[in-house]
Amino acid sequence: MKVTFPHMGNVYLAAKALLDGLGIDYVIPPKNNKEALDIGTLHSPEEMCLPFKLMIGNYVQAIQKGADTIIIVGSCGPCRFGEYCELQMNLMKNLGYDLNFIVIDYPKDIGIKELYRRISQVSSKSNRKTYEKLKALSNSLKVIRLIDEIEEAAHMFAGYERNKGDCKHILNECKEEASKCRTSKEMINLLIEYKEKIKHVPIDINKNPLKIAVIGEIYTVIESYTNFSIEDKLMGYGVSSHRGLTPSWWVKNALLSPLKINSLAIRRNAKKYLPLQIGGHAIECVGEAVTASKEGYDGAIQIFPMGCMPEIVSKSILPTISKDLDFPVMSLVVDDMTGEAGYITRIEAFIDLLERRRESVLFRC
């Protein structure tokens, strides 16, 4: 058995740590790239959302490297993501691949027994002792938490750094080095080291950079390939950015959701505009826009793939929030046809808008 999994930002580092710890053979598909997208677009339904296409590309590229088992998370959710696993199973079968899909889903949807059975399909292949397996799991959670913390710090400090490009450089180097680690222990030590490094980047606390919240659909905000590395671009412009949706947020949210104590602040802030769960991460998007405005951010950028139902709903709510709270929000739609030039123009113009707004507000004081 040689397992693989689709990409989503830095999740591959955690998956690598887990599978290394379990001693299971695996293939990491090449990072999302043009070729993966081309393969995905060729085989997927035309109007399907962008993440689906990239995932198909990931599978095919991993199979070329010898993978035969695919692990994905499902969600019997009310957005298209809930159907991804079934559609992808059929699609890959029709393409003539003989694969084993292991879909990890919430126990409330498939039952705890079924979840256990599915997990044991993987874990039974590991010859490690039970406590070693649990250790591998906790290590992998540690990895994702650390890399998310490093990323968040880098994005925030980018606006304050004294030497332009420091944060971006450290972050890229960190990811590069982490993917080379052989054991999860090594990776954790490396990440701790980089966390210290990023904390000690020379910053100028008197700077007052623009602060932008990145909100929207979870895959497209996390996976930098789909959003044309928007966070890197913002770092390049010397803008501090924050993104609430991270893989570690997702884990925490999933663990707390059975008790209904997940993302309380987000739901509270979203309540006035969107009181119902409509699927995907629409509540999070709306809630984060309100939170960002309250926390003194200058603006928010919403990103979502074309045809994403929950985000289309939040897109139509955002102008109201924008008006009520006097908080600029820009929506960007991405798909496999998006041209980067127009995209950059919008981001630059949005930053200009925020800068000019600030100048005139200061001017009036």
Partner: protein, 325 residues
């Protein structure tokens, strides 16, 4: 002292020279024809004979080809079209509240409040209703594009054309023409359809307040202006240099930048004669496989674009810093 502004758009490349009082001294309108480098060089050939390099105290670029243009001319400011258009409009009229800008490939709406941009939108995945579509229709009907608008004004009534998609709009126009409607009516119908599409698409959720400025190449079309006025119910204004506003904005922004920095990077008009070529290659450094463009001027590399990590584009920045040091 003059300030140079270059707007390299999808369809046209506009070059302006502003004097100290921000009045347009020279304007050149060229078709880009898929070759932005050549268009800029052609423009410089005209300027070369009239002006001296020392007379230019700032140069700015804008438009979708702003990066490449800036690299070859040595721009002081590289600004996006939205900010450039807003800057130019405000220079001419401080009271403007809304800017409607329709160019070759894209259309924009810019909302201003107290002289600052408060909101904007650009067409996303569809180019229906932009200049190139009108261009194509004019060509199909064998009417010079300059007279296209006058035809619309001749119409006594209008024909409803489906304007959501350029391809379907064309089939609908052909259908109406085969039914026997006359050309002016169809053209007016087309203008109405494009305005409807603009207001429902780009203008969605935006409050359009007077005073409205209509700029971009399509503003030359009187039919479009009158269709906008009918739809909005008030007069809209087309500035004198409507098709040069981007370039004017770039020149104004460049002037401000030079004031701050204290010197200009402008490389002179001589490049009109140099041999500028661009080559592209796929970077093999990582799985991103960026398509990198390399620009040579007389066999020396003057710029790199298209890489995400900055491995190539930073090279030039570094070497120019070395030169200054």
């Amino acid at each position: 002292m003059y300030y140079l502004g270059v707007d390299v758009g999808s369809v046209s490349t506009d070059i302006v020279l502003l004097d100290e009082h921000m009045t347009v001294n020279e304007k050149i309108y060229l078709r880009t024809k898929g070759n932005p480098i050549k268009a800029v060089q052609d423009g410089f050939k005209i300027l070369k004979n009239k002006y001296n390099q020392s007379e230019i105290s700032a140069a700015g670029t804008t438009g979708s080809g702003r990066m490449i243009a800036s690299a070859i001319i040595g721009g002081d400011a590289v600004k996006n079209e939205i900010t450039a258009h807003a800057t130019a409009a405000l220079e001419f009229d401080e009271d403007v509240r809304t800017i409607i800008e329709i160019g070759g490939q894209d259309s924009k709406i810019i909302i201003l409040n107290n002289g600052i941009v408060s909101d904007f939108a650009m067409n996303t995945v569809c180019a229906a209703g932009t200049g190139s579509f009108l261009d194509r229709q004019a060509e199909r009907l064998d009417i010079p594009i300059e007279e296209f608008g006058d035809y619309a004004l001749k119409a006594k009534s209008t024909v409803r054309i489906a304007g959501r998609c350029a391809v379907f709009a064309e089939s609908d126009m052909i259908h109406k023409q085969q039914l026997g409607y006359n050309q002016p009516e169809i053209i007016r119908g087309l203008c109405d359809a494009l305005v409807r599409n603009y207001l429902n698409n780009i203008g969605k959720g935006k409050t359009i307040l007077s005073k409205v400025l209509f700029q971009g190449g399509v503003a030359a079309n009187k039919g479009m202006k009158s269709a906008f006025e009918n739809a909005l119910g008030f007069e809209i204004y087309v500035p004198e240099h409507y098709n040069m506003m981007g370039a004017i904005g770039a020149a104004i922004i460049a002037k401000k930048t030079v004031k701050k920095v204290g010197r200009t990077n402008f490389r002179g008009f001589e490049l009109a004669g140099s041999n500028i070529i661009s080559k592209s290659f796929e970077c093999e450094g990582c799985t991103n496989k960026c398509e990198v463009v390399k620009i040579y001027e007389n066999n020396t590399v003057i710029g790199y674009f298209g890489d995400r990590c900055g491995k190539w584009s930073n090279k030039i920045v570094q070497s120019s810093n070395d030169l200054l040091a």
